[in-house]
Symmetry: C2
Amino acid sequence: MTYCIAVSVKEGLVLTSDSRTNAGIDNVSVHCKMHVIQTCEDRKIVLLSAGNLATTQAVLDQLRRDIKERAETNLNTMQYLSEAAEYLGHVSLDKQHRHANSGQNGFFPAATFLLAGQIGAEPHGAYLVYPEGNYITTSDHTPYLQIGENKYGKPVLDRILKIDTPLEEAALCSLISMDSTIRSNVSVGPPVDILIYHRDSFELNEYYRFQEGDDYLMQLRRIWQEKLSDAFAALPRIDKQEAKDFPVLDH
Amino acid sequence: MTYCIAVSVKEGLVLTSDSRTNAGIDNVSVHCKMHVIQTCEDRKIVLLSAGNLATTQAVLDQLRRDIKERAETNLNTMQYLSEAAEYLGHVSLDKQHRHANSGQNGFFPAATFLLAGQIGAEPHGAYLVYPEGNYITTSDHTPYLQIGENKYGKPVLDRILKIDTPLEEAALCSLISMDSTIRSNVSVGPPVDILIYHRDSFELNEYYRFQEGDDYLMQLRRIWQEKLSDAFAALPRIDKQEAKDFPVLDH
């Protein structure tokens, strides 16, 4: 399994991914799921991936080859991020189809991607590209997208993230969301990669990798845990005056 | 969908359920998912249900009929909660099988139950009864069970609940877990039922029903939201000295 988040707020982007890959529960390894494709200077494009690792790698290889060979359509020819998302969906579908009829039972070549970045004078943004090749983007009301094991870490994103949340806070929120997921699902695990992109900067120089047991991550986890316990202690208790007998029906 | 939680801590039990039932997204109604079966005075047994509503009701009817008709096996003849869980699994499987081959496409008669309570001098406890008829119980390390839409509300339970958490705090934690789930999944909704059972009391007199827009629930939601925001503000920021360039590989 995998968990990746792309937050797109006014100030820019926060991209977060775990690194645990498994082919069956007895074959677990570490693969970075955050990928930057080297493009020309007027654009930055980052991919986060979930799903079949072979499909993911085949897609990344194709995107890089298309640039190198100056294919008619490649990430350098795009004017809009939505075009890049469409192209990624097309390449992904093609790679999946090549192996879909291999005749192996229980083989799922599906892969899902988050594509985020900025092209020229266009606004920055993030797209979720489904295995079917279609895509969605964020909105002012829901300024984030998730792929992989998305449920455990969703409530904290829903509660905290707004379109005008500062990047620093969005990064903390993403780390807490990742930590909740790592605690609840053993198939999601460190190292955790996080990349902060300030809009219009065209720089990818605020990248962090947190290894298992990283001091800062441990501190974050401990303080968050303490603050949650404090928050609980401060919650208004249920008014016992309102207690009733359970209405037992006897049929 | 549904979301129900059974917490079993040293002091007793906290049982929580939502009330939204749907047969397709265009057929949503309100059904209480917390059921008390009238038994003899040396025991209290409460059921929480998720899944097919017809199966659930058929199972409840059968349990009540078995008591009324003094069947050889009924909830009054059990000496242990685990026996009751096994009996419930047996009845559930029987009811599901009656309709499994009805020939309707997309028909799933499966139902899942939480059974909690106390019998005589035996300790109180909670059991999750699967549609397959087998069951699991809680442990000191994981003093809760969930059925239905369990993922959104799991992190807060994992972070707060311990075997010696007081009942009052376990109830607050369950309400926050329910609130997180209601926010994230529209198929889970109020009224929210919560029943607190003090061990060895054999009383079900601490029952609360919170309607949509209930003052207390709104206050709880608001204060929790504020406290979470405060907690975020107090988290240690990522050390920008640690920022690196993203290691772009150019193949």
